[in-house]
């Protein structure tokens, strides 16, 4: 596992390029089924994420987008199926996988500063009872800087706006120096500055050969922000490059009779038609 050894976190810049050949796809989902209280949420999901691309997971509410991400990360139990990371198990690949959870998943009144949250991204590199060293704090500060939040390092997290909190979560994931990132609705309810910061980070991650999988709700921006799309509604409707897969027919299949969303979809498609 040469890439594991090569990733022992010696580099100080989280986004520095690492031109190594990696065997296997960053994420291979095979026959994954997930159920909450006997009600299936995901049904026999089969998907290979291409490497080094920005990938959107798109689908209606309740389609299982977040659940797919959580199932891959081992946060919800899988009824059947397997998930492989870089051709290996999740347990062996923890250090290669970064995660930006939904903002609402934590208590933002927790007594901790922005920098301390970002430093948590480094904890995976530290063993039990090992203290956080200055090297890790500096790396965390550099990550805060990348999302334009260096001035807020000492702020208690409840004193940040929603968009700033989202950027702190993003910086925390960057601090992990991972190869594959999962982001759960990072664009949900954020201000324009944060949206720009996230897009910037996505671009830089891609330039450095990282793979990013983003649960996304805004059909209008799929074409602008992403290379690949996975259309999901309990099962995989379609997956592949945005140009090929993001079509009227596939969206109709994904969203079905959900009128409000279909409206959104059709206006997105009108944009799409205008472009091409």
């Amino acid at each position: 596992m040469s890439f594991l050894a090569g990733h022992s976190a010696e580099s100080s810049s989280p986004l520095s390029s690492r031109p190594e050949h990696r065997p296997g796809s960053p994420l291979a989902v095979h026959g994954v089924t997930v159920a909450y209280n006997k009600k299936p949420v995901l049904w026999d999901v089969e998907w290979d994420a291409p490497e080094g691309r920005l990938i959107a997971i798109v689908g209606p509410n309740g389609a299982g987008k977040s659940t797919l991400v959580k199932a891959c990360l081992g946060l919800v139990p899988v009824v059947s199926g397997q998930v492989a990371f870089f051709g290996s198990s999740l347990r062996r690949s923890r250090r290669l996988v970064g995660y930006v959870p939904q903002r609402g998943s934590v208590d933002w009144d927790f007594p901790v500063s922005a920098l301390e949250v970002v430093t948590m991204g480094r904890y995976g590199m530290l063993g039990w009872c090992r203290p956080v060293t200055r090297r890790h704090r500096e790396a965390a500060l550099a990550c805060l800087d990348q999302v334009g939040m260096a001035d807020y390092a000492g702020r208690q997290i409840s004193q940040l706006s929603g968009g700033q909190q989202q950027r702190v979560f993003l910086a925390r994931a960057l601090a992990q120096e991972a190869q594959l990132y999962f982001m759960d609705e990072p664009f949900a309810g954020v201000d324009a500055a944060t949206e720009r910061a996230i897009v910037d980070v996505l671009k830089r991650l891609k330039e450095n050969g990282r793979t990013v999988i983003v649960v996304h709700h805004d059909l209008q921006t799929v074409r602008d922000y992403f290379d690949e799309v996975l259309l999901l509604n309990m099962r995989v409707v379609a997956a592949g490059p945005v140009d090929k897969v993001f079509t009227v027919e596939n969206l109709r299949k994904t969203y079905g009779a959900r009128l409000a969303l279909l409206e959104q979809a059709s206006s997105a498609l009108a944009d799409l038609a205008r472009v091409s």
Partner: protein, 451 residues
């Protein structure tokens, strides 16, 4: 409990000072040191338990120790050993406490019952069983039953050097463990899912945390009693939270308040031996909690109320200044009668604002009414400009009608940062809706005459 058979004798100041300065006799000093250390350890460990939302779980744990204590007593007596052997009783307490916690976890994992219901059920069933066994013990032919009751309400007077030493060792151990695991505890308290993604075994971290709570609870049983020992784990951290936004400061403050409560409580309990020690110690802790809740500058109730009042006063100030400015725009520069501004500013916050603006020299009171000073005019210009920028923005981007825009702008303009004002100016200028000169854009709606 036989309170009331004799009148309570109030200790003299002299005696009180002697107890507090460790000169009230060897035994009293031992108790004082022991309970203080217990408070320090409980406050520290409790910080993490409270932040992990394990406060009620700790309560279940302490109540669930009773059947263990009683069973250990019965077993010891039946085997011919002494029912007063502390290690045996504490081992029994720890075992049944842990069993109680595991039962709750089993129930909430394998059924759809909410966790608080599971805790309520387990807590009361274990405690009930303990009580039944306790009355069985009273019928046993042994003269040692007296010691058992102390575990329920707590009694510091019977604490010896052994108890204090055990507490001391546990306090030292838990403090050390909390320091070593500080990073792990912070992570799992804040974001357990993320901890999992990073590869941490959160079940192990939780186990370590629960073990510390068990250790503190069990050694505290004799001093504080199993009904109230949980208070030392929960109240000092809850009080500490009011004082700070930093986790390590919270831990230090909680340890300090816990130690102080233990020290003062044990001293009071030595001076009033007829009252249950647990109750006294918890009342002292509760007193500090009340003080923190009211007076802590970071998150206390009074500080929050004060900040609220200040915000209202600032909003009223801005309304007042803008009102005077717009009155000047509408009809020359004369003074405005205070009554004409009544629709815009009234109430105590407005009176406060008026007094303050006069005192700051922004508004001058004249016999014929209020008037902006040159300094006040400058400030009023800035405020009016922000208000109108925001109105323009709402009309341009939020499609509000000009007649409704004033009220909407009123709600938000007071929280505009200077960054945001610049951004507004940039966007409105780009749309050609902002005049080039530095003054405010004209109001989009008719101004009320006079104000």
């Amino acid at each position: 409990m036989s309170i009331g058979h004799e009148t309570t004798v109030w200790p003299s100041l002299d005696e009180t000072l002697r107890v507090l300065t460790f000169q009230g006799g060897f035994n009293t000093s031992v108790v004082l040191v022991g309970v203080t250390l217990l408070g320090v350890a409980a406050g520290l460990v409790g910080t993490f338990a409270v932040l992990r939302r394990r406060a009620l779980m700790s309560d279940t744990l302490s109540h669930a120790t009773l059947p263990g204590i009683t069973l250990a007593f019965i077993a010891a007596v039946m085997l011919g050993a002494s029912g007063r052997s502390l290690p045996v009783l504490l081992a029994g307490a720890a075992l049944s406490g842990i069993l109680g916690v595991l039962t709750v976890q089993f129930i909430s994992r394998h059924t759809r019952l909410p966790e608080d219901a599971a805790m309520g059920a387990v807590l009361s069933v274990f405690f009930g069983l303990g009580f039944v066994l306790l009355s069985y013990i009273q019928t046993m032919a042994t003269g040692e039953q007296g010691g058992i009751g102390k575990f329920i309400y707590g009694q510091t007077a019977t604490m010896g050097v052994t108890d204090a030493t055990v507490i001391g060792i546990v306090a030292l151990g838990t403090t050390l463990a909390s320091l070593l695991l500080f990073k792990e505890f912070r992570l799992v308290c804040f974001d357990p899912d993320y901890a999992t993604v990073l590869g941490w075994r959160i079940s192990l971290i939780d186990l370590a945390m629960m073990a510390l709570v068990v250790a503190v609870t069990v050694v505290g049983l004799r001093a504080v009693g199993l009904i109230l020992v949980i208070a030392l784990v929960v109240i000092p951290p809850a009080a500490a939270r009011f004082w700070t936004e930093r986790l390590w400061v919270m831990a230090v403050v909680a340890a300090f308040l816990g130690g102080l409560s233990g020290y003062l409580g044990a001293a009071a309990s030595a001076l009033f031996p007829r009252f249950p020690a647990g109750g006294i110690i918890v009342l002292v802790a509760g007193f500090f909690f009340l003080l923190s809740l009211l007076f802590a500058p970071a998150r206390g109730v009074l500080a929050a109320g004060f900040r609220q009042l200040r915000l209202r006063r600032d909003i009223a100030s801005q309304h007042l200044l803008r009102g005077l400015f717009e009155a000047g725009e509408a009809g020359g520069g004369e003074a405005v009668p205070a009554a004409a501004l009544r629709s815009r500013v009234h109430g105590p916050a407005a009176r406060l604002a008026l007094t303050r603006l006069t005192w700051q020299g922004l508004i001058a009171r004249r016999p014929d009414g209020l008037r902006l000073t040159p300094k006040g005019r400058e400030e009023a210009l800035r405020i009016t400009r922000n208000h109108r920028l925001w109105e323009q923005f709402l009309m341009a981007y939020a499609d509000l009608a000009p007649s409704h825009v004033d009220h909407s702008a009123d709600l938000v303009e007071h929280v505009l940062s200077s960054d945001m004002v610049q951004e507004l100016e940039r966007q409105l200028r780009a749309r050609g809706r902002l005049p080039r000169h530095a003054g405010p854009p004209p109001s989009p709606h008719p101004l009320a005459s006079g104000a």
